[in-house]
C-alpha cells in the first residue's frame, strides 16, 4: 500500500508508559509545530495512575485550523510494548508505525498495509547513558529528534524550546539537545526524510486563525486567571481530577500577583478542605460575607456539594463553582472526558432548584466566562456553575490571546452599604422584591451598627428573613426565585447562531468542547451539499433566541458527550416549544472527545445519504 501523503493535515499518536517523562517530550513536539505557525491540537489520553499504565498523546495537525478530534491515526509512535497490539490496529491503512526496534518486531503484529519505522531507542540509550532514569527519559527526547527529521520540524525551534524548558537548570540543556540530535541523525541516515506526511511552515491558515496572534493554553489555567481577574480572594477546594489544576494555577498566579509588597502578606486565602462539602461551605460562607470565592471540582464533587448548592440557591448566596466534567457515574473513568453533569448541575439539590450554567468552549471563554460568572453570581445572588470538561480543562488548545478591558468594572450586585442603610427610612427587608426583577438587596455582616442585620437560613422565611411556615409566604418566595431565574435569561451569555450557506430546516445544536468537531463536521457536510444551521449554547437558562431557533427548525441534531442526551432533556424541560419530535440526540460517551468524522457520519446516516449505523441509541432514533 502506498504510504500516506499529507502536508499539515494528519494525526499522530504517541503510546507511552505513564510516569516515564513522555509528557514533557510530547508537549515539546506539539509546541514546536505550534511555533512553526501550523495549527495543532494535542490531547492527553491518560490513565488514573501515577506510574506504569499505558498513556497516549494524540496530536492533530490541521492546516484548516480544526482543533477537535478528527478520528483515525496516521502515525503511531509506539514506545509501550504493553499496548503495542492495540496501537498497531489503530493506524489507518498507508499510515506509519514508529517503534523501538531494539527487540525484533513480533510477527503477529505486522500489518502489510502500514509502514514500519524501527529505531533502536533502548539500545541507543543503553549505549549513551549509564543512569537508569536518564536511559528512560532520553528515549522520549530521541524520538522527538527522529520525528523532527521524519516530519520536517524546524530543529532550531526544538532547541529554543529545550533552552526555555530548562531555564535555571542550564546543565540539562546540552544533553537534551544531544539526544534530539541523536534521533535526528538516526532518522536522516536510515529513512527517506521527510515522510509522505510532513509539515511545511508558511502555508496559509484560515482567517479565524490568522487574525490572532494565537496562544497555546489549557482551559483550567484560563479559568484560574479568570478568577484572579474577577477579584476572587477565597478559594476552597478538594483535590479531584480533572479540576485540580484550576486551583493550582490560581495559587500560582496569586503568588505572583497578590502578595502585598509592603507587608509580604497575601491578598487571598486558599484552603484545601477536608472534602467537597466543606469546600462548598467555605465558598458560601466567604461570599455571604462579601468576598468573592469559588471552588473547582468534578462530578463526584458536584454530588457532594448538592446540598449546599440548594442552600445557596434558597438562601440566595452568590457562589461560583467550576465543574470540570469527567466520565461518570460514580468514579466512572476519572481521566476521561464527558459532558455528563448537565442535569445534575442544572437541578443540583433536593426540592425545586435550578442553577445558572455556563458552557465555555475555548480557553479564552474559560477566562471571560469566569470573570462574568463572579459578576452574575453577585448580581443574581445565586450559584453559577461553569461547565468545563477534561478535554478543555487539561489539554492545551490553540486560542486567540486572552483579553481584558481595563475600563470594565466589577458588578457587585445589590448590596446596601453602611451609608445606604443609614440613609434608609423604610425597614430593610432582605427578601423584598423592591425592583420587581426578583432580586432582593443584601447587606454584609457588620455593615451598620443598628440596621441591616438579618438571619440567613435554608428554612422558609418571609420578606424580612423571619422564619415562617405560612404556605402563602413560602409560595411567594418560591415564585420570586422563579422570577429571578427569568431575569437571569437577560443576563447570561447568549447562544451563538450561525446560519448555513443555504436556507435549511435542519440544524445542529451543541455546546462546550463538542463545538470544534461539530463545526468541522459541518464544513465537511457542506461540501457534500448537506446544509445545517448551528446553535452553540453558552448558558442555561435558555434564552428566547434558543426557543426561537428550535421553533424555526424541523430537525435539530443535539450533539453531546453523555449517554442519555442530557442537554436534549433539559431543552425539552425548560423551553416552551413542542420539541420532542424535533430534537434528535447524537451522543458519544466512550470517554474520548467526540470526533468530526463521527458527527458527520451520524448526520449523513440520519439524512439517508449513506448506510452508516447511527450512534443514536435505538429509542432515541428519529422520532418522525
Amino acid at each position: 500500500m502506498q504510504p500516506k501523503e499529507a502536508i499539515n493535515d494528519f494525526v499522530i499518536k504517541f503510546a507511552n508508559v505513564n510516569g516515564t517523562g513522555s509528557a514533557s517530550a510530547n508537549g515539546m513536539f506539539a509546541k514546536a509545530i505550534f511555533r512553526m505557525g501550523i495549527p495543532v491540537s494535542p490531547r492527553n489520553i491518560f490513565p488514573s495512575n501515577i506510574q506504569g499504565l499505558p498513556t497516549w498523546y494524540e496530536v492533530r495537525i490541521s492546516q484548516d485550523g480544526y482543533l477537535g478530534r478528527r478520528g483515525g491515526i496516521d502515525m503511531m509512535v509506539s514506545v509501550n510494548p504493553q499496548s503495542f497490539a492495540k496501537d498497531v490496529g489503530e493506524v489507518e491503512p498507508g499510515g506509519y508505525m514508529l517503534y523501538d526496534s531494539t527487540k525484533p518486531l513480533d510477527l503477529r503484529h505486522v500489518r502489510r498495509d502500514i509502514h514500519y519505522l524501527g529505531i533502536p531507542l533502548t539500545e541507543m540509550c543503553l549505549r549513551e547513558y549509564t543512569d537508569s532514569r536518564q536511559r528512560q527519559l532520553f528515549k522520549n527526547v530521541i524520538y522527538v529528534g527522529a520525528l523532527s527529521a521524519l516530519l520536517n520540524i524546524d530543529f532550531a525551534i526544538l532547541k529554543d524550546l529545550v533552552s526555555e524548558q530548562f531555564k535555571g537548570k542550564e546543565k540539562l540543556i546540552t544533553p537534551n539537545i544531544h539526544a534530539l540530535e541523536m534521533g535526528h541523525q538516526y532518522a536522516s541516515t536510515h529513512f527517506e526524510c521527510p515522510l509522505g506526511i510532513h509539515l511545511k511552515a508558511g502555508e496559509k491558515t484560515p482567517k479565524h486563525i490568522q487574525e490572532f496572534d494565537q496562544i497555546l493554553m489549557d482551559g483550567n489555567t484560563a479559568t484560574a486567571l479568570g478568577a484572579v481577574y474577577a477579584g476572587a480572594t477565597v478559594a476552597a477546594w478538594y483535590p479531584i481530577t480533572p479540576s485540580t489544576s484550576v486551583v493550582d494555577a490560581f495559587e500560582k498566579y496569586c503568588r505572583r500577583l497578590r502578595i502585598d509588597p509592603g507587608t509580604g502578606k497575601k491578598n487571598y486565602a486558599i484552603v484545601q478542605a477536608e472534602d467537597e462539602l466543606s469546600a462548598m461551605g467555605m465558598v458560601i460562607g466567604a461570599n455571604w460575607n462579601g468576598a468573592r470565592a469559588f471552588t473547582a471540582t468534578s462530578g463526584p464533587g458536584v454530588s457532594l456539594m448538592s446540598e449546599f448548592l440548594g442552600l445557596a440557591y434558597f438562601a440566595e448566596v452568590p457562589t461560583v463553582l467550576v465543574d470540570v466534567q469527567r466520565a461518570g457515574p460514580s468514579t466512572g473513568m476519572p481521566t476521561r472526558t464527558q459532558q455528563s453533569d448537565i442535569l445534575a448541575a442544572a437541578y443540583a439539590s433536593h426540592g425545586d432548584t435550578k442553577h445558572v450554567l455556563f458552557f465555555p468552549a475555548t480557553p479564552a471563554e474559560c477566562f471571560s466566562m469566569t470573570v462574568e460568572a463572579f459578576d452574575l453570581a453577585e448580581r443574581l445572588q445565586t450559584p453559577i456553575i461553569i461547565m468545563s470538561d477534561l478535554d478543555l480543562g487539561m489539554n492545551e488548545w490553540m486560542s486567540p490571546p486572552l483579553e481584558f478591558d481595563d475600563s470594565y468594572r466589577y458588578d457587585r450586585g445589590k448590596v446596601l452599604s453602611g451609608e445606604d442603610l443609614e440613609a434608609m427610612t423604610e425597614r430593610f427587608g432582605r427578601y423584598l422584591d423592591v425592583d420587581g426583577d426578583g432580586i432582593p438587596y443584601r447587606t454584609y455582616p457588620g455593615a451598620h451598627p443598628t440596621k441591616g442585620a438579618y438571619f440567613t437560613r435554608g428554612s422558609s422565611r418571609d420578606e424580612y428573613a423571619a422564619y415562617t411556615e405560612d404556605g402563602d409566604v413560602y409560595v411567594r418566595n418560591m415564585d420570586r426565585l422563579l422570577k429571578k431565574f427569568e431575569t437571569a435569561k437577560s443576563l447570561v451569555p447568549e447562544a451563538k447562531i450561525k446560519p448555513a450557506a443555504e436556507p435549511t430546516k435542519d440544524a445542529l445544536l451543541f455546546f462546550g468542547t463538542t463545538a470544534s468537531p461539530a463545526y468541522e463536521a459541518l464544513e465537511t457536510l457542506e461540501k457534500e451539499g448537506i446544509h445545517l444551521d448551528t446553535l452553540r449554547l453558552r448558558s442555561f437558562p435558555f434564552t428566547q433566541e434558543v426557543e426561537d431557533f428550535i421553533e424555526e427548525h424541523d430537525r435539530i441534531f443535539v450533539i453531546e458527550q453523555n449517554r442519555d442526551g442530557q442537554m436534549r432533556r433539559l431543552l425539552l424541560n425548560e423551553t416552551n416549544v413542542e420539541a420532542n419530535a424535533k430534537l434528535i440526540s447524537v451522543v458519544e460517551y466512550d470517554g474520548l472527545p467526540v470526533t468530526a468524522r463521527k458527527i458527520a457520519s451520524v448526520i449523513r446516516g440520519a439524512m439517508g445519504i449513506n448506510n452508516v449505523t447511527p450512534l443514536v441509541p435505538k429509542e432515541k432514533e428519529l422520532a418522525s
Binding site: D213, A236, A291, F308, D405, Y444, G446
Partner: protein, 349 residues
C-alpha cells in the same frame, strides 16, 4: 415555649462601655421547650456579650441544624446570622472568617450536629485553629426528631423508651484537645456562674475555642437513668470555678493558693481558675487529658476551662493573609489589568 415577650424594660437599665443595655443583646422569642437548657445558654451568651461590651453588629452567629442551631435567633438580633445545613456550620464559619477576619464569630451547634453528621468538619475546623467560639449544646439526644440517642450519649445511659445505649460516647473535649483546639472548656447550662465567664474567655481567646456545654433535654432526656439529666449531671459535676477579669479591672476574687491559676489572655484580660488539684497544668494538653480521664473513671465530669494554648497561630497566621479583611479589597487592589495579561499571552506562544 412562651409566645409573648414583655415589652417593659427598666428605665435605668445599666449600659455597658459601648452604650448598650442588656436588651440590645437579646434576640427573638425562643420556640424551644420550657426549661430547655439551651435557653440558659442563650442567656449566658447575652450576658457575656453585654459584659464584654461587644458591639452586636461586630458579631456573626453561625449554626447548623437542630434545636441548638435554632438558638442564634434567640440572642443578638443586631448581628448577622447564618443558620446553615446539618453538620456544616464549621465550613461556612471558615469561609466567613476568611472573608472578614475582623468580626467575632460565634458558632452554636448540638451533639448530633457536631459529633455525628458534622464530625468531619468539626475535627478539621479545630485542626485549622479557626478564630471562633464554638459552643456545643450537648444533651445526648436528637430533640427535634423526638429523642433518638446521639453520639455523645454515655454507654448504658437509658433512653426515655427504656433502651440502654450500647455504644461508646464521643467525648468532645478530649477530641478537641487531641486535634488542635486551643481553648477547650466544658460547662453546664445550669451553672451560669461558671458558664458566663467561660464564654467571655472563649470569645476573647484568639484561636479556636470549644465549649462543650451539657444542656439537658427536658422533654426526651431528663429522666432517671439518663446521664445527661439535670439531676444526674448535678450529682456528677466536678466544677472548677472560673473568673474572667476584663482588662483594666482590679482582681478582687480570692481563691486558695496552690490550686489557683491565672491566665493572661491575648487582649490583656485575665482568666482566674480554680483547679481540682495542684498538679493539673491546664496549659499542657497531656495533663488536661489525664485529668479528664481520671475524673471520668471516678464517674465525675470535670467542668471548667480544661485546656488552653495561649500563643498559637490561628488560620490567618498560617495562611499569612493580609491584616486588611479580604472582603474590603477593591478591584484596583485585586485585578492585575490587561498589561499583565499581555505578558501571560507572550509566555504562551
Amino acid at each position: 415555649m412562651t409566645y409573648a415577650k414583655p415589652a417593659f424594660r427598666h428605665p435605668d437599665a445599666r449600659t455597658n462601655e459601648v452604650g448598650c443595655t442588656r436588651r440590645d443583646y437579646e434576640g427573638g422569642l425562643s420556640t424551644l421547650c420550657a426549661g430547655c437548657g439551651h435557653d440558659s445558654i442563650s442567656a449566658a451568651i447575652i450576658d457575656a456579650c453585654f459584659e464584654l461590651s461587644i458591639e452586636p453588629h461586630r458579631v456573626a452567629k453561625l449554626s447548623g441544624i437542630g434545636c441548638s442551631s435554632k438558638t442564634p435567633a434567640y440572642f443578638l438580633s443586631g448581628s448577622h446570622s447564618f443558620n446553615s445545613v446539618h453538620g456544616r456550620m464549621p465550613s461556612v464559619a471558615t469561609g466567613a472568617n476568611l472573608a472578614n477576619r475582623d468580626l467575632i464569630y460565634i458558632g452554636v451547634s448540638g451533639d448530633g450536629d457536631t459529633a455525628s453528621i458534622g464530625m468531619g468538619q468539626f475535627a478539621h475546623v479545630m485542626r485549622r485553629n479557626l478564630n471562633m467560639t464554638y459552643i456545643v449544646e450537648n444533651n445526648g439526644c436528637y430533640g427535634l426528631t423526638k429523642g433518638q440517642d446521639s453520639a455523645t450519649m454515655d454507654t448504658e445511659s437509658v433512653s426515655k423508651k427504656g433502651d440502654i445505649n450500647p455504644y461508646m460516647p464521643i467525648d468532645l473535649v478530649r477530641l478537641g484537645i487531641e486535634v488542635g483546639a486551643t481553648f477547650v472548656g466544658r460547662s453546664f447550662s445550669g451553672d451560669k456562674a461558671q458558664l458566663v465567664p467561660l464564654i467571655k474567655a472563649a470569645v476573647s481567646h484568639r484561636g479556636f475555642a470549644l465549649l462543650d456545654v451539657i444542656s439537658p433535654c427536658v422533654t426526651f432526656n431528663n429522666h432517671q437513668g439518663s446521664t445527661k439529666s439535670y439531676a444526674s449531671f448535678r450529682e456528677h459535676n466536678e466544677a472548677m470555678p472560673v473568673d474572667f477579669i476584663p482588662r483594666r479591672e482590679a482582681i478582687t476574687t480570692s481563691y486558695d493558693a496552690g490550686v489557683v491559676h491565672e491566665v493572661c489572655m491575648h487582649d490583656g484580660s485575665v482568666l482566674r481558675l480554680q483547679k481540682v488539684n495542684e498538679e493539673y497544668d491546664i496549659e499542657d494538653a497531656q495533663s488536661a487529658l489525664d485529668a479528664i480521664a481520671y475524673h471520668a473513671k471516678e464517674e465525675r465530669i470535670l467542668t471548667g476551662l480544661l485546656y488552653i494554648k495561649r500563643d498559637s497561630d490561628e488560620l490567618h497566621d498560617v495562611l499569612q493573609t493580609a491584616t486588611k479583611p479580604l472582603n474590603t479589597m477593591n478591584q484596583r487592589e485585586l485585578c492585575p489589568g490587561s498589561r499583565f495579561l499581555d505578558s501571560i499571552n507572550a509566555g504562551l506562544r
